[in-house]
């Protein structure tokens, strides 16, 4: 199985150097080859196990409680203005 590492890295929003691609390519292919072992198993009519245990809806009471302060939530912001996270311009063509 050939993996297009550049394309998948783009999907994952991960910039890779050419050196990284060269190292990852054979490693990922050997991992994919290994996991393809599961194609041997007959899974006809078997339900998928979606989670660690069977879970029914788990509700808590809809009561308003104090949450983290704005200052605490912004405390680890790499860049901020006032009470907002500061980001590069997102909307194309708009005035910055």
């Amino acid at each position: 199985m050939k993996i297009d590492v550049s394309y998948v890295a783009e999907l994952a929003r991960l910039e890779l150097t050419d050196e990284e691609k060269a190292v990852f390519q054979p490693q990922l292919e050997s991992i994919v080859k290994y996991v393809e072992k599961i194609s041997e198993v007959d899974t006809e009519g078997v339900a998928p196990m979606m989670h660690g245990r069977e879970i029914v809806n788990s509700f808590r009471d809809d009561v308003i409680k104090p949450s983290m302060s704005r200052e605490a939530a912004l405390g680890n912001a790499p860049s901020r203005v006032g009470d907002e996270f500061l980001l590069p311009k997102i909307v194309e063509g708009a005035e910055s």
Partner: protein, 472 residues
């Protein structure tokens, strides 16, 4: 006996009698750390002032080392990744809140494989940790800092996390008791997510009794984690104290007996452990886990898939590293992540994104979830016949740092621990002896894994304690 050598039970006895105060233990740990951790490297950071202050406020509490992916308010939480360097937690994880309410305080942050991905702690971007039983060797992983701190008497006990073996394998390498609770037994709120359908927090400790106390202190319903049921938390310590092998049915896995690639000393120690169980009143029953051979493959689809989704939150926007080279939002994402994540994390993000990508989902992720159902059924079938299953914990004792380079070879460390993780059941690693010393390697600790059914922790502690006793 030095205070840093104490376990939880012994420390509590002295604290109760008023012979010592919590501060005395914290001070002893700090001086032990300053003298010895330069060699072991278990701790990433240790806020001495905060630990001493908490000890003074709670003079009967026992300090616990915390794996660096569990949030403690006001302390770093790096996940051993450059992407979280400088991050300070704004809140306590539920396990920390529970621990504080039950006579424990967090003291020191211990090393791990970056985002809990690895089996040797060599994937930490922030520090090297070595095995206290041989400083040339790794402590295992991903909770390698927790295990090295417990095994090296650098703490009283520690919290770790286990996704595919990350508590049990390092516990085996560093001669401590490690417990991976059943999925849902312990809240994951405030614990940085790796693979959400597998992650559990659990204790690494110096005895089964200590592990029982610490798990009892952190487990239970949490309204912040919808996977935790209302089921009561039994008295695990009482279960351990009553521990006996008499009349217990212990399963040994037929398929594992024929496996290649198991270290002969691990094989010998496991076989002797089985014989000792039989000699002490247990009935040994051969069982079959016919789909266990597919567990590794299932895990290396499901865990990276979930990780790739969970780690999408590291985008340089709200917290964590932001690339100085970013010009627009796209390069902000791609470059912040490129600079922040280490190689194993990048590999798993790509693997996970690949198996979830359009056209491949059914063949990989969808199919893996179905095979996971079959693995869980194997365990259900087995537990209709036996009380517990006994297996080796890891295929080898601790290996040399730098010895394992190929990612797939490293993954095989979790061969015996992954099936029970996928099934969501509970399991422990309990010390079972040492390898014979040879010119190539010194005597090294080896643990065996004991597995019980989902939410059968009381039975797990009962059997683990009895096992610990007969192996002494």
């Amino acid at each position: 006996m030095e205070l840093y050598e104490l376990g939880i039970c012994e420390a509590r006895a002295l604290l109760e009698k008023g012979e010592i105060k919590s501060r005395d233990i914290v001070e002893a740990i700090i001086s032990r750390k300053n003298a010895y951790d330069t060699k072991v490297g278990a701790y990433l950071t240790f806020d001495e002032e905060a630990a001493l202050k908490m000890a003074d406020e709670n003079p009967k509490s026992v300090p616990i080392a915390v794996k660096d992916l569990i949030n403690v308010v006001g302390q770093p939480c790096t996940c051993a990744s450059k992407i979280l360097e400088g991050y300070i937690s704004p809140y306590d994880a539920t396990v920390i809140k529970n621990m504080k309410a039950n006579g424990f305080i967090p003291a020191g942050r211990v090393n791990m494989d970056e985002f809990a991905m690895g089996s040797s702690t060599e994937n930490s971007a922030l520090g090297k940790t070595r095995n206290p039983y041989d400083l040339e060797r790794v402590p295992g992983g991903s909770s390698g800092g927790s295990a090295a701190a417990v095994g090296g008497n650098l703490c009283i006990a520690a919290l770790g996390t286990d996704t595919g073996g990350s508590i049990r394998q390092p516990a085996s390498f560093c001669n401590c008791v490690g417990v991976k609770p059943s999925y849902g037994r312990v809240s994951r709120f405030g614990v940085t997510a790796f693979a959400s359908s597998l992650d559990q927090v659990g204790p690494l400790a110096k005895s089964v009794d200590d592990a029982a106390i610490l798990l009892g202190a952190i487990a239970g319903k949490d309204e912040m984690d919808g996977t935790t049921p209302r089921e009561i938390v039994p008295d695990y310590l009482a279960a351990a104290k009553a521990g006996t092998l008499k009349g217990k049915k212990i399963g040994v896995v037929k398929e594992y007996r024929e496996l290649d690639g198991i270290d002969p000393e691990v094989k010998r120690i496991t076989e002797e452990a089985i014989e000792k169980c039989a000699a002490n009143g247990a009935e040994i029953v051969e069982i079959s886990l016919p789909h266990a051979e597919y567990a590794m493959a299932v895990y290396y689809i499901i865990a990276p898939a979930e990780a790739s989704a969970n780690l999408a939150r590291f985008d340089g926007v709200r917290f964590g590293h932001r690339s100085a080279r970013s010009q627009d939002v796209y390069s902000l994402y791609t470059r912040s992540r490129a600079e922040g994540f280490g190689p194993e994390v990048k590999r798993r993000i790509i693997m996970g994104t690949y198996v979830l990508s359009s056209g491949y989902y059914d063949a990989y992720y969808g199919r893996a979830q179905k095979v996971r159902t079959l693995i869980r059924r194997d365990f259900e079938e087995a537990f209709s016949k036996v009380d517990a299953i006994l297996t080796p914990c890891a295929p080898t004792p601790a290996f040399r740092a730098g010895e394992v380079q190929d990612p797939l070879t490293m993954y095989l460390n979790d061969l015996f621990t992954i099936p029970s993780s996928l099934a969501g059941v509970c399991a422990s690693s309990v010390p079972a002896g040492f390898t014979k010393a040879s010119p190539e390697r010194p005597a090294l600790p080896v643990g065996v894994q004991l597995i019980c059914g989902s939410f059968e922790e009381a039975k797990l502690f009962d059997i683990s304690k009895a096992f610990e006793e007969i192996m002494k």
